[in-house]
């Protein structure tokens, strides 16, 4: 039978996020003051309240579901791991950190390409602002997605779940600082290796040419390896939010809107294939193409660019 308890010898590690919370607040106040003085950063009271309320909800949802997630993780690790004694040495922590970040890349990429996962992740993108409070606008409904399965290969490899979740916490802390417009570009070597404010601004932008890009958590190299890297273009300022922005600050509606959309679509869809595709197809997919996926939006933008270029060429005066 499935036993809902952790092994007695499970590693006890600090929860990095718990320690980081006061620092999140301090850095937000610094950014706020900087934005107030320079007017270079946009904040909005109700938007901030929604983002921060979402973060409180995330903490509560995480606490309610942590037991199930941890127990399942330890069950996989204890029963199916390939390498028995990887232990908890510093090289194992470093390996776990890199592999967890690689895993995060694929979770995040799937979170944008599969509507089931997007239903949870969309919350993080639902603000039209890009500031440190946006970093804390997180989902409440991860537990209803198959996200946890992405970590299982690490447990199967033999890395103890406590180490993986510790690294996941560090990864999330790293991701806090680059949700800002206060920092333009970092040194070139840093921009080449790591995720930065510039790279992540692109990720949060709804401009067609920026859609579905820069999924990295810590190392931007994953995007460069798998063809999803798009650099920030100074001539194309980022326009933040969703293609169809939400018209509410109500945290409950923010947290559940995409789930409601999925249920409505599945309910009214004809045929099993369409019902399944409304869940696992890309956001915006419909059987008749009446809505736009990000690929369609990008193709449409490209077509407009080509038409504009042709028009400019034909209307240019002859020399």
């Amino acid at each position: 039978m499935f036993d809902f308890s952790l092994p007695s010898n499970a590693l006890q590690l600090l929860k990095p996020l718990d320690i980081a919370i006061p620092f999140f607040i301090i850095f937000m106040l610094i950014e706020l003051t900087y934005g107030w003085k320079t007017r270079r950063i946009r904040y909005e009271g109700k938007d901030t309240l929604t983002s921060l309320t979402m973060s409180i909800g995330t903490t509560i949802a995480g606490a309610l579901t942590a037991g199930i997630v941890l127990t399942a993780a330890y069950w996989v690790w204890e029963n199916f791991r390939i390498f028995e004694n990887l232990g908890s040495s510093i090289p194992i922590f470093i390996l776990a950190f890199v592999l967890e970040d690689f895993t995060y890349y694929w979770i995040h990429r799937s979170g944008h390409r599969i509507r089931w996962l997007w239903a949870a992740h969309v919350i993080h993108h639902s603000s039209q602002h890009y500031n440190l409070s946006t970093a804390l606008r997180q989902t409440w409904t991860d537990v209803f997605t198959p996200k946890f399965l992405f970590f299982w290969p690490l447990f199967l490899l033999g890395i103890e779940p406590a180490i993986v979740f510790f690294c996941a916490g560090l990864n999330l802390i790293y991701q806090f600082w680059f949700h800002t417009e206060a920092i333009d570009k970092c040194p070139r070597w840093f921009e080449a290796l790591f995720n930065t404010p510039s790279h992540h601004r692109v990720h949060h932008a709804k401009n067609p040419q920026y859609l579905d890009a820069n999924y990295a958590g810590v190392f931007i190299i994953w995007d460069k390896m798998f063809g999803t890297f798009v650099p920030e273009d100074k001539n194309e300022p980022c326009n933040y939010g969703l293609v169809h922005d939400l018209d509410t600050f109500n945290p409950l509606r923010v947290a559940t809107h995409e789930w409601v959309g999925i249920v409505k679509d599945i309910w009214s869809a004809k045929g099993l294939k369409n019902k399944i595709l409304f869940l696992v197809g890309p956001p915006g997919w419909t059987p008749d193409g009446s809505r736009m996926t990000s690929d369609m939006l990008r193709a449409s933008w490209q077509k407009r660019q080509e038409t504009a270029a042709k028009t400019a060429t034909t209307s240019a005066p002859a020399e």
């Binding site: 904040y43 109700k46 903490t59 409070s133 018209d247 809107h257």
Partner: protein
């Protein structure tokens, strides 16, 4: 879960949000320029007419033509702008009152939009709605495919 941490976090949330609302005043309401600029980003191919702006500057209608007949619904969310498009085959419920028009449609985060209009704008709005949905022409409170 640490309840004390949760309590202090909640207090911090309220204080920071209050500080933000005092330090960053809301942008002005909807203007024709903001409406057209935002809707151009949202529906780049639409050919826009002049927007019909609610007197409280919180909402606007933007009749558009080509490649499709469409009606832009633009609302102000705090200082931000939210755009939607209504096409002829979409179900929406329009209620025409005394200088007000209320739109109810199946949008979970935007169930109702109210337009408070001057007499001239009310006439223009009614014409635009009628153009998109002839069957709703003289309806005072009906469901129409708009």
């Amino acid at each position: 879960m640490n309840w004390m941490q949760l309590l202090f976090s909640s207090l911090a949330v309220l204080l920071v949000s209050f500080a933000v609302s005092r330090m960053f005043p809301k942008a002005a309401g909807l203007t024709a320029e903001r409406i057209c600029k935002n809707y151009r980003r949202y529906s780049p191919d639409a050919i826009q007419s002049d927007p019909i702006i609610s007197t409280d500057q919180k909402s606007a209608l933007l009749p558009c033509s080509q490649p499709n007949e469409e009606l832009g619904i633009i609302t102000a969310l705090g200082g931000d702008v939210v755009c939607r498009t209504l096409l002829p085959d979409e179900t929406a419920r329009w209620q025409f009152g005394d200088g007000t028009i209320t739109l109810k449609h199946g949008d979970f985060t935007q169930p109702t939009v109210k337009f408070i209009l001057s007499e001239a704008d009310f006439r223009r709005a009614t014409t635009a709605i009628k153009a998109l949905s002839p069957q709703n022409s003289a309806n005072n409170a009906g469901t129409a495919h708009v």
